[in-house]
Point group: C2
Chain length 325, copies 2
């Protein structure tokens, strides 16, 4: 079976995203008109991300299903970062020549499985021929039962910094996949999986946002070295004292760092695309938070003094910037 | 001045889209966090469009400002097509190497002028290095004072088909720009302008949606030949009898068709990217509609019988499909 017309692509999308889920109250009108219509009473949190071949992923080691999964996962993570409940998304799809029915079937399967797991509805989008394969996904979420959406801008001196997720794991996966291709999966199963198929931490985000003593939150997409300064700056020129020890880090991160001859805490600092959640909370709130999220790791404390101390030494680094020279 | 880092691009965007407009009630939290937060009580209409170099525009005859303008205009047109009021948009920007500060300054100026004219706020987006220049814009609108958002799916037999806009004008502009480049602007000023800088018909959309006797509406993005069947199919396998005469068409469309040796009504049928509005309304509503929108042209009538008759002859054509072979 081949795809000859725009309608062929739309039919394939319809098969993977049947409209029965469109009966959620949020989606008043689904795909097929000039706009979708969402029913929202109060607040919606909205975000969007590009996911481009050769920039955000490589087809040499991403399966079509991985591409579909991760394109949506990085957007779900933005809703998780506010403590929201993801509801609906739209898909702008850039379609190069030469990818057939099998590719698109697997791509949509990967995306549709994740969408079903998180109960988000595909409400629209755009399709275009393109020189490159890529997606732009926009996503809408709503506050959870607590009614609270949590920004990154109200951390306070004395707050503990906690992370839900494994610092550096996706970076290890990326590095090994770049070096060894899919053969890396055998030696670094969790790292490579973290890079190829990250799990958006929606449940953790909801728990943290519902706790009034959690003051600020964001997801870790560009690495702690780059993301933590954003949280500290948004909260008013604050600083942090970090203690990232071997005990905090995943086995594979330690093993990788040892083999590379780098300090594991540096692998952790630079680890982009972890899609863990970073939050600042008052020390009294830690016990409740760790009861609900057992693997919530304390990595440091917010300070009035600007700048970052890592394991008692000043830390200065930019993290990942793909516009950097 | 050059752009070296992601922050340089963000600073340039901030300069062109100052956050003072972000005080609209709709925008509870603007750019800079993981998500924007919109305040919506009731319904939002949402849409998105890709705008890619070499697919939707060419840099040989689109100025940077034209690119910025049209990327947003085609999205505003989707809100107009529902009779909504556009409120906010997000911009996913694909940034190839080699475009400097001047290019981006003009691009953002073109986009920001249109955004200011329509009072839409830039609330977020994503930036990425990319092999190609392009945008994906997602837009949110709300119902106007009438509270009504108008779909394409309730046209009735006997309804008049009306168009706000000039059928075929953008197609003439595209054709002449492809053949003569910017030299075409002199001979075909309105056609080329219609292709390069379409005007979204938000005011007309609001007027039509407020009239209960207007039953269906959509914008003309792929040409009447392709868009009208969508409206007729969505309304339940209806047909249409069209009368498109020289009097209905713009001077430049007639002149172009004469020189090409094609019937002007065929130029009109195939005219993609007109971004006019097509609506179906009861005959009794025409007078009110034409009082409020003086140039609303009647082009035909909806029939119970499927199929399209154009000037009394059967018409069958697919219109534009950039996946077609």
């Amino acid at each position: 079976m081949t795809l000859h017309s725009e309608q062929d692509y739309l039919n394939l999308i319809d098969r993977h995203f049947p409209s029965r889920l469109d009966t959620l109250d949020t989606v008043q009108l689904g795909r097929g008109d000039d706009c979708a219509i969402l029913g929202i009473n109060g607040f919606a949190c909205v975000s969007s991300d590009l996911f481009l071949d050769g920039v955000h992923f490589r087809r040499s080691y991403f399966s079509p299903s991985d591409i579909g999964h991760k394109a949506l996962a990085v957007n779900l993570s933005d809703i998780a970062a506010m403590g929201g409940v993801p509801r609906a998304f739209s898909l702008d799809l850039m379609v190069p020549e030469g990818l057939g029915f099998d590719f698109w079937g697997q791509f949509l399967t990967g995306m549709a499985k994740l969408a079903a797991a998180y109960e988000v509805v595909l409400v629209g989008g755009d399709l275009s021929r393109s020189p490159i394969l890529g997606t732009s996904i926009h996503i809408w979420g709503e506050p959870g039962p607590s009614g609270r959406l949590l920004t990154r801008s109200a951390a306070q001196p004395g707050d503990l910094l906690v992370v839900a997720g494994h610092l550096g794991l996706a970076r290890v996966g990326l590095h090994m996949l770049e070096v060894k291709g899919t053969a890396a999966i055998h030696d670094y199963p969790l790292s490579t999986n973290q890079h190829l198929r990250p799990r958006p931490r929606v449940a953790e985000g909801l728990i943290l946002a519902a706790n009034a003593e959690v003051h600020a939150m964001m997801d870790l997409s560009d690495g702690l070295a780059r993301d933590l300064p954003r949280l500290l700056a948004a909260s008013g020129n604050l600083g942090a004292r970090l203690a990232i020890t071997d005990g905090t880090l995943h086995d594979e991160v330690r093993r990788f760092s040892e083999r590379q001859g780098v300090a594991p805490e540096l692998t952790a600092m630079l680890g982009g695309e972890d899609y863990g959640l970073l939050a600042a909370l008052s020390p009294e709130a830690l016990r409740d938070a760790q009861r609900d999220i057992p693997r919530l790791e304390v990595i440091g404390v917010v300070t009035q003094e600007p700048g970052i101390l890592l394991n008692d030494r000043p830390y200065a680094n930019a993290g990942f910037d793909h516009f950097g020279e």
